[in-house]
Structure formats: C-alpha cells, structure tokens
Amino acid sequence: MKTLIMSFLLCSITFAFAVNLSVELPEVYENNSELILRVDEGFNDIEKATLYFRADDEESYISLDMQKGLVSEPIYTVSIPSNYSFDSAVELYFEALTENGQKITYPQINPQLNPLRLIVANSDTISESIILLSPDVNFPINAEELIIAFSYFSIQNDIKANSIKIFFDGKDYSSKAKITKNMAILKLPTPKAGKHTFKMKAESVMGNKISSKDFSFDQNKSAKIIPFNIDGSLSAYGKYESNSETDNYNDANMRLILNVRKNWFRLKSKTFLTSLEDSKKQPLNRFSLDIDVPHFGVKIGDFSPDFGSFAINSVNVRGVFSELNFKLFRLQALYGDSKRAIPGKLYTTNNSETVNGDLYVNNDIAFARETTGIKMEFGHERYFNYGLSFVKNKDRVSSLDEEQYFAPDSTLLVRPKDNIVIATDTRFAFKDQRIVFGAEAAMSLYNSNIIDGAISQDSLETLVGQEIPIDPEDLEGFFVVNSNIEPFEPGLSNLSYKAYMRVFLLRNLFNISYSYVGSSFNNLSVGYLAKDLATISISDNIALFNNRFLLNISYNMNNNNLSDDKEFTTNNNTFYAQVYVRPTNDSFFNFSYNINNTDNSSDTFETRTSVYSIGMGYNVKQIDYAPTKFSVNFSNSVNEDLLGNTYDFQKNVITISANSKYRDFPLKSKIGYSVALDENKRVSFDDSYCEIEELDDSSYHSVFVNTSYLFNEKIEPIAKFRFSVSSGDFEYSSQNVNIGTKYKFDRKTDLYAGLGFANYNYPNLDENDNSELELSINLKRRF
C-alpha cells in the first residue's frame, strides 16, 4: 500500500510539474526591458503565452502575446512597447495556455491579486526649467484640438534636442510633436472626458535624464468631439523548424486589427489566422467585431467574457455578446459555443485502452458546448456595484454522430454535460478605488451525462423516495435532471464563494482574500478553477524612500477535503518574501525567500520546497565608452520529502551578468555566466526492497552572449549565443546560436527575420544527439 501511495505521489509530482515556469526579469523596469518566461519543462505542450501588465495604480491588465523561443532555448519573450509609460511600478503576471486548454500562471496562485512587481527605473530628475505653456488654466481646452506645449528656453543649450519626448496618458507621442529650439508642441484631437496626464522627458548633454513634473487636467464632457479616425495594425509571422530527429514544425499566422471611430461610434475588429488551425482540435483562429455606441455595445465572433471568478471567465466563446451600459445599471448577455464538436477516431493499437478485449482511443473527441449567460449589475462601477449572473453550459448531443462517442461494445467514450451556475458579486470602492472590498458567491448544478435525457417523474420519485410535483421532462430544455446529477442532493459542496480586500495607501499595497470552492462545484465556463479547495491569500507590497526600498510579502494557505469526503486532507502553505534596496540610482541589492509545505492529515505525506536567493548589482558608469551594469545572484533551492525521505534534491545556482550600453556607438551587449551545482538523492523501489540512492553530484554551466547594434535608428542586427554543459547523472552539452535583424521601414512598419541553430550532444547516449534549425520572420505594420 505504501508503495502504491508513493508511486501515486511521484506520479502526481510528475504531473504537477508537467509544465514548469520561471521568469527572468530585470532588476528595475526600463523602456523596452525584455521580459522572459522560461519554460523549464513542457515547452512543447504550450500553445501560447501571454503577458498581463498594468501600472500599479490601475485596475485592469493589458495583455500582450509573447514571442515563442526555440526548443533549444525554451523561452517566451516580450517587451512592453515604449508607448506605455509607468510612473512608479509595473505589475505583471504570465499565463501559459497548454494545448489541452489548461492555463498555468506565474505566479501560480492568484496572479491577478498577487502579481509580480517591477519598480520603474527612476533616474529622471524633475527639472523646474521645463515649463508648461499649454494647456493653461486661463483658457478652456479647444473643442477640436488639444495643444500641449512645453518650454525649456532657460536650458535649451543644455539638453539634447533629439532626446525630447512627450508622453500623454502614459503613451509616447514624440513622433507627433514639433520640437523647436526652446519649445515642444504636441497637437492632438481633444481627448475623451476624464482625467488625462502628460509630461516631458529629455536627456541633458551631460547624459542625465530629466523630466517635467507630472501634469494633468480634467477634460470636460461637453467638449468631446472626436473626429473620424481609423487605426490598427497588420502583422504576419512565419516559422520553420527542422529537427534531425523529430518531425518538422511549421507555423504561419496573420493578425489584423482595425479600429474605426466616428464621434460616438466605435468599431473594433480583430482577425487572427494560423496555419495550426485544425478542424479536429479546438479552434485557434480568432475573429471578432466589436461595435460600441453610447450605452450599448455588441461583440460578434470570439470574445472572452468576464462575469466574475465563479460565473464565467478565461474561456473563449464564439457567438454574440451584448451590453447595455448606464451609469448605475448594466446588463450583459451572451450566447455562443465555448467548444466545438470534434469527431473522434477509433483505433485498435497496442498503446490504447482495453475495453472488453477491444482497444480504443477517443482522440480528443468532444461535443459542441453551448454557453449562455446573462448578468445584471447595479450601482456605480467606481463606488459600489452589485451583480447577479446566470450562466448555462450544455453539450449539444446532436453535434456528434452516435458512433463517434460509443465504442462497438456500447462503452461511452465521452459524456455530454449540462451545467447551470448562478452567481452574485458585490464591490465597494473608496478613495478613488484605493480601498476596495468585494465578495462573490456562486452555486452550480451539474449533470455529468445527459445522453439519455431527463428521467421520468415516476423514476425520479422512486429515486428520491417521495412525491415530486414537477415532471423533469418538462424542464429538460432548462436543465436535464437524471441520476447523473452531481451531487444529487444540493448542499455546501456545490457552493463557491470568496471575499477580498485591496488597500493601496501611503505607497503600500495590501491584499487579502479568502476563497472556497466546494468539492462538487462545477463550472464549465471558467478556464481554470481548482475544486474542493479553500484558499487564504495575504500579500503586502511596500515601497518607501521614493521606491528605493521595496518589501513584498505574501502568504497563501490551501486546504482541500472541504466536504470531508476524502480519506485525507491535504494542506499547502506558501510564504514568500522579497526585499529590494536601491541605495543609489546605480546599485541594488535584493533578497528573496520562498517556502512551500505540503502535508496531509494522515501524517503519511509531507514535502517542502524552499528557495532563497540573494543578488546585487552595480552600474559602473566610470567605464567611459560603455557604462556597464554588473550583477551577481546566488540561489539555493531544496526540494525534499520530509516524512518518507524518498527524495532530497538540492541545487545551488550562481549567475553573473554584465549588461553594457556603449556610448559612442549604438551597441548593446549582455554577457552572462551561470553555474548550477546539484546534490540529489532519492529512493529506488524494487519488488522486495527499497534503498536510498545517492545520486552523483551534477553540475551545469552556461555562458551566453547577447548583442545588438542599431544602425541609423533603422536596422538592428541581433546575435545571441549560449553554450551549456552538464555533468553528473545526465551528461550533455548544447550550443545555441540565434541571429536576426530588426528593420524599421518607417515609424509604423517593423520587420524581423531570424535564424536559429541548436546542437545537442549526449556523450553517453549518442543516438539522442540531434540538431535543430529554425527560421522565423515577423512583419508588423501599424496604420
């Protein structure tokens, strides 16, 4: 029995780490900082990765698709476009979507409430010599045009004219501005009603960054006249990947975004077409058309509705969504398919399951799933609102032919389901949304198999042992009632609820939440929801001394077995703390500690993962021709089975890097070295005995060099090289070379062409040696 449990646990661990993510982030955020999501395991299982980011004082996140790396360098990368500007910090998290539809986030737990936080490099000096000329308080803003004008006449000879930038609402509009010897003038269409911010930044001839104060104004609603406008972008991407040992991989996709505005009318359309679209898998292509007029909006095509954590979110629906939107009342309704019918194929191979001697594989067979939802919301979005949602998901049995889901021996290979969720949510906000309280609750009804339709009234009465005044067959259009309802008798187990509080005051962001998801709570329209789990999550982010001292602390506690229907209760606790200190603009120090404990009530299982990391860096400006940021980081991670002592993995990693930006010519380079030393032991099982196996100490060394050179602000060749070698139980070496060129045709058109080559050698397993070649091209045109 113990062997079985151990095997199960080891399998669970293997499953849990099927996709393993880590991130490589800069110490502080600067424009065009590259954000890297490293896929330590399961790179090929990931369909796409997305970055979600926001300014620390914003509520909603903005998403950016990440660029997929090579199999030889399993990373996703993205840079936040420089037209987004952040005053103090940027909050972000990553989401990886696997091919089987699972969403894995980093951080793993409550990433929206507990995102990663990067402090914005704040080397700008506020200059009083940058004077705001327009807008002027004495004159209302013109009905047609907004004029932003800065004067720097008293320092006109001290700043570089080509370094002057004007930001409006966080976006860089410098290309539209007129820069003269002593003035910078930007003319824009009158913006929409509400508060708007703007500032000017520049670089002095001495190389110091200066900026104006942050300015803002409130645009009056009555002055809103928006001219006819069209904008959007078209991008095309293609990749060819060839491996000496595996099948080639090709991907080509195209994305078109088109926005049209005319006074109160808004139209947005998005089209994404990919060569990976396969009618026998869930759709990857995306089409959407959004039309908005005052107080009403409609979306046609693909959309991702959000009615709350327990009602509907993180799921793509293809259909129609409409919304009535008033100051104190909103009504949203949707109808569409959240899955499409995928016929299965019957195989009789030796690798498939055995059913009565016959072998079947259902090959991802799925029914089309209809999703219907409606949400009413009362109250002002910025102060208090209350919402009531109804969501129904039902698999369309007729979407597949009968032979597709029944094996010849009548074994059911896939079960159509019916699901209803009623949810409610409320939210209070104070002090310009700096203090927010909220709560959500939901109840589900779930039928795991509706193949046979509704049960008869007589059968139901027999089943429950009492008279039922309603005939289930009359209700079949609303919900299919039969013996497959889970649970048959509703109770606490099919409830979910959560409460949360967010406070952002005095540079201190505090979050606390409690969520409960019952063991029988089922919602087919929530992308990822762990059942039978209660979670307490607390986090606090403190920024002091003008962001020179940062402290992040978070604690998460999870318990399952909420209905006491499992043999054991599993508890999981995670504590994370990070201190970041930046005593000067050119130096930093950080320390982080993360510990995760998992155990169960039977005292048969207790594991612990702990990681601590310490790092420091310094920007050596004294190197005249190439100011260089040096950084060194050490981390220690321990992954151990405390009770069974079945494994004990330890790893020490040291990473050193030097990031140079050359002064006299536009060359950037980054050189890094990383060494990991492993000390592992694990239990090996046999039929009759088990023994602790001391594994050979292993080591991993990796050197990388990244360079880029910008010619005439237009052409930027990029070269990356990485050499890695590993010794110990698993010996291998690899060489990765990536070269490419970015070409900026004009302000609105970019092209990237890249070539990657990777070579893998396994000294003890020559037959596994392989090499890989990758060609990629990406063209983007904004209009």
Partner: protein
Amino acid sequence: MKKILLSLIVLLLFCINLSASVAITLKAVGDVSLIREENVSKAENGTELENNDQLETKKNSYAAVKFVDGSSVIKVFPNSVLTINAEEGEDKKLNKKTNLKVGELWAKVTKKTGGFVIDTPTTVVSVKGTSFNVDVDENGITVVNTFEGSVEMKNKKDGKSAIIGAGKHGRSNGSGDIEVLDGNTTQEEKNVDPEVKILEIELENSEGNSKIIKIEFE
C-alpha cells in the same frame, strides 16, 4: 582678426537668438493674422511666435499668447494689433516688451519673472506682477484697468507717470497728467474666451462627393 572672428560669432549667436521662439499662441480663434517679416499668414493654435511677430485680430476674433518663460499670458481682444518682443536679460530672466498699436488686451503677469512692458503709441505701461487690462483707441488714448497689484503708466512725450493701483483705472493721451480714477471701466473676467462647440454636418451627393458644414457655437 581674432576680434573680428569673435564679433562674427557674437553676431551669429545674436541672430540665432533673434530667430528663437519667444511665445506661443495658446488660442487663435476667428480671423487672426500673423505678420512676420511682411509675410501674412493665418495664426493657428500652437503657433510659435518670434520677436517682432505681429498679431492682428479682426472682428469677432481673439488670440491668447503665452511667453516661453511661462510667466505671463495675454488675451488680445478683437480689432487689435500686437507686436511681440522679448529678450533674455543678464539675470537670465525674460524681459517682455510688447507693443499694442491699437485695440485691447488683458494680461496676467507673475511677479519676479523679468520685466513686462506694454508699449502703446502714447504710453508705456510697466508691470511687476499683476492682472490688468490695456485699451488703446485709434488716437492712441490708453486706458489701463488694474485688477491686482499695480501698474505704472508713463507718457512718452513728457515723461509724466502715475501708479494705477488695484481697483483703479488710469487714462492718458500721451501728454499731461494721467487721470487716475477709482473703479474699473471693464471687468477682469470678460467672456472673451467662451467654450466653443462645433457641430459638424456631413453632406454627400449621389456621386459620393461630400462636404462638411461646421457650425461653431457657444
């Protein structure tokens, strides 16, 4: 030779300085002309103004000007002619000296931000930080209304001067005593810059040609 070179450099720098912008039109509503070196163009919102640029506002038109040091704004009312001038002083402050040939203006000046002088055909109006109004008629008769602080009026012919305090107005025809009387002849908050809304009506004929009618209203 060295002196000549130095003189040339100084002259060059002076010329460069002359061509630098000294002010900007925050607003140019209606028929407002910009006269620069005898070239006449329509002044627009956000137009940079250089030394000796002249703004001429016609009927039902007005302009608003702000100097590059951000210290002072001027509203130029209809049927006025204003010439802009400003130079950087030794104290690095911008000394503003504008000429109001005819018409009316309102100005708001921040204290200790360089000199601010309005030159009219008959009078010189000097300000150290205040809000005031200057009206010049066709005969050069200048009326100054002071709303805050104080303004000095000085006749060009005989050099007589008078201080016009807050809530008073002064009148001069260029010679003799300057009349200083209690009360203002005009209000500071004149509704010269109402919020203008625009109604656009687009017309399209059967051939697809379109024209837009713009109606500006307050």
